[in-house]
């Protein structure tokens, strides 16, 4: 009789595997950790959206916990998340934008229409900085600590709940 029960082992194994795979299936595959987590913000040299003559590099992000938002005028979710980013700026979070694959003109229009929470915007028309950040779509948001190390990464639209439940606690944690 006992050996009969052993025959159920493959079935049990299969069921365990099925449950495991089913649970993983319901996860959102776009929510995966950035490869840059706990690493330095990649080195870059670029001008700002506001002033073509002003050159900045990665040191502009150090000294204070900074939220780096990668956005573009062409990106609908970027418009929708602007109120949340303005809210974050109101809460005293230092915000820096990366204007990703955009033109100066359109980028500036976007900011005058939807508001500008950013202390400055790094101009990245070719998407090189975005590439080094592993950005595969906009918007994406990175939290950089005072030493310029990436501590948190958010892919896609930032909802008011994300601000309250995840981003603000992360900002506080790394301050």
């Amino acid at each position: 009789m006992k050996r009969r029960l052993l025959l159920f082992l493959p079935l049990i194994g299969f069921l365990l595997l099925a449950v495991f795979l089913y649970l993983r299936l319901s996860e959102d595959p776009s929510h995966r950790d950035s490869a840059l987590m706990a690493r330095d913000f990649p080195a870059f040299e670029a001008s700002t959206l506001e002033d073509p003559d002003r050159r900045v590099d990665q040191t502009v992000l150090t000294g204070e916990v900074t939220l780096v938002n990668v956005w573009g005028e062409w990106c609908p979710a970027c418009k929708q998340e602007m109120p949340q980013l303005l809210d974050l700026a109101d809460r005293g979070v230092r915000m820096v934008g990366v204007n990703y694959r955009d033109t100066r003109e359109k980028g500036r229009e976007f900011l005058s229409e939807f508001g500008n929470p950013f202390e400055l915007n790094i101009f990245d028309p070719e998407g090189d900085i975005g590439f080094d950040l592993g950005v595969y779509g906009a918007p994406e948001t990175f939290l950089v600590d005072a030493d310029g190390i990436i501590r948190y990464h958010h892919t896609g639209y930032v909802s008011p709940a994300d601000v309250r439940d995840t981003i603000m606690p992360e900002v506080e944690k790394w301050r």
Binding site: D33, A35, L36, F131, D132, Y136, G137
Partner: protein, 155 residues
């Protein structure tokens, strides 16, 4: 008949469309580099579009990644260097063949372990069955079996 022709025409259109697919016309100095380009872009998963290789994807990021692979090949980088370059930015996720390391021993190891277990199981079952057939006859049954065999022979 006309319908058949129409169907075939549609099918050809679809095939032609997918053959065009994503990708640019690129110049290579030699066929080996071209081959490496094709292999590399076929072995990386598009980070945006889920389970499409970057050589097969129309997503802008895939075009960027193909361009980068091409540039790095032109710079004379090795396949490993190029793969590292991409993984540093986009993570292990983009590799269709995850690398063998601490995190992936289980992934690569489980199939091997399962095959070994299966072999052991078969060996064990065959042995058990052989022993069972050898020992299950009682002395009385054995005597009767001998009798039957002998009767067969003598007749």
């Amino acid at each position: 008949m006309a319908l058949n022709r129409w169907l075939i025409a549609m099918l050809l259109l679809v095939v032609a469309g997918s053959a065009l697919g994503a990708g640019e016309i690129r110049e290579f100095d030699d066929p080996v580099t071209e081959r490496r380009y094709q292999d590399l872009t076929a072995s990386m998963r598009c980070p945006l579009c889920e389970n499409q290789a970057i050589d097969d994807s129309d997503a802008p990021i895939s075009a960027d990644m193909r361009e980068r692979v091409y540039q790095l090949l032109q710079d004379g980088q090795s396949d490993t260097e190029i793969i590292n370059h991409m993984v540093e930015r986009f993570g292990e996720y983009i590799l269709y063949n995850p690398r063998l390391e601490n995190r992936t021993y289980l992934l690569w190891g489980i199939p091997v372990v399962l095959v070994l277990l299966g072999v052991l199981l078969v060996v064990w079952m065959v042995r058990a069955r052989r022993n069972a057939s050898a020992t299950s006859l009682s002395a009385e049954e054995r005597a009767r079996l001998d009798e039957l065999i002998n009767r067969e022979r003598s007749s």
